[in-house]
Point group: C2
Chain length 207, copies 2
Amino acid sequence: MRYHKIPDETVRRLPVYLRGAMHLSQQGLESISSRHLADLLGVKPWQIRKDFSYFGDFGTPGVGYHLESLIKQINKILRLDAGQKAVLVGVGNLGSALLAFPGFGMYGFEIAAAFDVDKRKIGRRRGGVVIGDIAKLRNLRRRGICLGIIAVPEDTTQEVADTLVDAGIKGILNFSPRYITVPKRVKVITIDIAMDLARLPYYMPLS
Amino acid sequence: MRYHKIPDETVRRLPVYLRGAMHLSQQGLESISSRHLADLLGVKPWQIRKDFSYFGDFGTPGVGYHLESLIKQINKILRLDAGQKAVLVGVGNLGSALLAFPGFGMYGFEIAAAFDVDKRKIGRRRGGVVIGDIAKLRNLRRRGICLGIIAVPEDTTQEVADTLVDAGIKGILNFSPRYITVPKRVKVITIDIAMDLARLPYYMPLS
DNA sequence: TGGTGATTGCGCTCACATTCACAGACAACA
DNA sequence: TGTTGTCTGTGAATGTGAGCGCAATCACCA
């Protein structure tokens, strides 16, 4: 299957596997079988094997997957080995939480810049970066920043997205519930917290 | 198709449609066609029509969907019409942002209680609720709280989940990256912010 | 009341993803 | 070195959702 197109769902699961692998590696383990990794992550073993099989031979029959090389491989596939830099736009409640969020580091991410419209926030230091004026958001390309995180109110989302695209951003993580239009070359992933909560009651037993 | 099982993907999209419908309704519109709604939300028209067709006749040929009744119907399907109450566990950076988050209200959600382990936070008021001691998290059932939101550090997630289940919670929105084990009757939706960001570089053009 | 234009509802088909089962590969050990 | 048990890799089967086209339906208007 080495020459197939990788299913989107597989790509979506790769970070899950990566996290599990790093977790086990930190505990001093050398290798892990698909069955044990599956138990840890709450997925099925054959799902893991199938997913990995798209990229070639990761594992050793009779033993399992060597954690160190597995981590290295997934990092390479997801292009996390380069140490991606991100820019945050909107330092409100959510934005501040994201700046303080420790989880980005484990994937090699760094929030290298933050911007806001609020004059009172501009110039202040928050989570290691100085908040800049959103009007001066430019030349991110020169600083090697390719990712944008949008955490602004709903009505300015599109405007911010346009600015980010102009500044050379190639991928956007959008926390605003509004659909944004960008050139096809730019990938957008939207996280809508309220919407995820909204489908929870549907699945809950009636009483 | 009225007697079919509803696809999960359709349920996932219903909140999107609901938000779009509410947005348009607030602008004074009466009806919307699938084509226009699709343009607004960035989906395909036939996707909307198919999704709605699972639930019976929502629309009127030649006109479109009547917004007011559409909103009422989706709210009923997702059981949002009852006004769901949620409990937040973990009032750190993310938890605080969630308490201040205005987006829950539009779906009829209310964060009716918040808990933390930190003695310094307990007793304080944050976003309209008094932060309680997590050790005393009980009898949520009596207060009509069915939803739990977990925003605690990774290593205490399972413990908190168990506590919530014991307290009668029927659905959990989990912001921790760890897989949690719960009885089958409890529905868990996990939002892993770092993981969503982690698959972004894969899709970005190489240069 | 009958014609017209717009839009829905839905069966059909295709593409993609999950699940399964098993051949082949490897480690361990006698 | 032969044997045994374990685990991977993957083709084939099954399940699920997206895409599409069109008949049926309705508002509108002369």
